[in-house]
Subunit: 319 residues, 2 copies
């Protein structure tokens, strides 16, 4: 079976790990990763979601925090700070920095990010085909209520998304080109999955790459999403602040409606919500969605495998 | 007193530390550092001699090896190697890397290397004005006997200068411009010192920056050099391989003649050799040089201070 996952960082990576555990060998999983959070930091290219995916699927992630490397240290960033340089609110660990330096070195040879990602992923036995959504450099900025524009990472990491945002401005996104393989993977998929990633700045960014939304609309595969909202709050991350910025309520129902039903011009055919949000099922089913509820908290790999199984079952794929 | 030192890495840095110990406070020491060994490594700008000077004078050097940082680790380079990337023969420690990342970040803002160097040196209480010889990017390559061209650092670090060289090719050098302050420092100096640095790829490179040789010729200050050769061999480094490449014998006398007497169009007025090379004194004195011999091995700071004192005394500066 050919599966395509449109993923942000921690939530998408953990879901994909569970999906792989559920599927076992013999399937082809392509992960299209958001690169809208990427940032140039101290002259190196940081791609948070690609790396979280690579480490999580490759067994190198810091399990406790969900991103970054296990057994990490901060020798370089501490010394950089002694020069009065660096963003003191953004910690890039030594091992994480090595990945970013490797990426930067390869990018400087002229390779596109997709080729660089494939090269880096060779070290990590990810079990998937890891694709950046685009080779075009996209950077997300946040427009604050007072009109100030700050980098997404500053808003997210430094301010923990606590500054009310008027919206997101994503330089390069409108003119970006889907990375080689992305549109083809969607066209040839047996199923497309939206894991419980941030609907605005992760999945929302991926589907804003020209051609991606169209490829999802056109694919013969069913498209199923897993709600990132449990009981009216994001499980992790600060999706509520992102949803508020675009005027969407933080609820499983509102996020489903934001994505939209595919036959009505939206992205999804099916939506898996948490048991706490079961009240969303009736209105969704009435509107023509396939919808179901289960315990969606990804507490460990077996639990996540079970959630993935239920998501696939919702579109009739009992693998 | 205003002193200008034209320095390479380890030898020049140790000499300058001794010079500062000898002079004490109240003098103005400018160090013009060779940048011809600089290299782009994993996308970061490595300036070996500038950093060796900064660490040695600022109290952060790894005393045992003479370069790099004390309490160094190699987390990043080891992890970079796990990607099959990097030059495995060039180790850049984590703390050293932080300096290089800081430099790269500042260079990318558009600052020239001289301004970047001043900014980085603020952290290290060097006691000198540290100037790169030029803001122009210069890279030294080595032409091997079979015609192959390799980067100087590859020849120096990987092959320990063991591959016979036909010569050095220094891209950017002929068109380089002396960094702000270099020519002015030479013009306003009370004395110019050539420490026991590599005569070919350190001092030789500095004086090949257009205008520097002319500034040395024109200055009213006396110019004194300390021989880097003791008993027909370089004290450290592989100056013999460099001298062979340009057809100069590895001897205190031959290096003096290579530099040349200033009144005959050369660089020096005076030359301090080791006791082991005292036979050089008579021919030099006969040719009009001020010359003397002493124990020139820089075993510790007090010894080096004594050597610096003797070098200054040779041109009549009994400070």
């Amino acid at each position: 079976m050919k599966v395509v996952v449109l993923s942000g960082g921690v939530g998408g990576a953990r879901f994909t790990r569970g999906l792989l555990a559920h599927l076992g060998p013999g399937h082809e999983v392509s992960v299209v990763a958001n690169t809208g959070d990427d940032v140039w930091l101290h002259g190196v290219r940081v791609c948070p979601d690609l790396d979280t995916l690579m480490y999580t699927l490759g067994g190198g992630v810091h399990e406790g925090q969900g991103w970054g490397r296990a057994d990490e240290s901060t020798r370089v960033s501490t010394d950089l700070a002694a020069y009065g340089l660096g963003w003191d609110w953004f910690t890039l660990g030594d091992l994480d920095l090595a990945t970013c330096l490797a990426r930067t070195e390869l990018l400087r040879t002229g390779l596109p990010l997709s080729a660089v990602t494939a090269r880096l992923a060779r070290r990590w036995d990810t079990g998937v085909r890891l694709l950046p959504m685009t080779d075009t450099e996209v950077e997300t900025h946040v427009r604050l209520l007072d009109g100030t524009l700050i980098h997404f990472e500053e808003w997210w990491v430094r301010h923990r998304a606590a500054l009310p945002a008027a919206g997101f401005e994503q330089g390069g996104l409108a003119g970006s080109i889907a990375a080689p393989g992305v549109v083809e993977a969607l066209a040839g998929a047996d199923v497309v999955v939206l894991p419980p990633s941030n609907p605005v700045v992760s999945v929302g960014t991926i589907v804003a790459v020209p051609g991606v939304r169209e490829a999802i609309a056109a694919t013969a595969a069913p498209v199923v999403g897993v709600s990132p909202i449990i009981g009216g709050a994001p499980v992790r991350g600060m999706a509520d602040a992102c949803l508020a910025a675009i005027g969407v309520e933080t609820s499983a129902l509102a996020v489903a409606r934001h994505y939209g039903l595919r036959r009505d011009g939206g992205l999804l055919d099916a939506w898996l919500v948490d048991d706490a949000d079961a009240t969303a099922l009736a209105p969704l089913r009435d509107a023509g969605w396939a919808a179901d509820a289960t315990a969606t908290l990804m507490t460990d790999v077996p639990t996540t495998a079970r959630i993935a199984r239920q998501a696939l079952a919702l579109v009739g794929l009992d693998v």
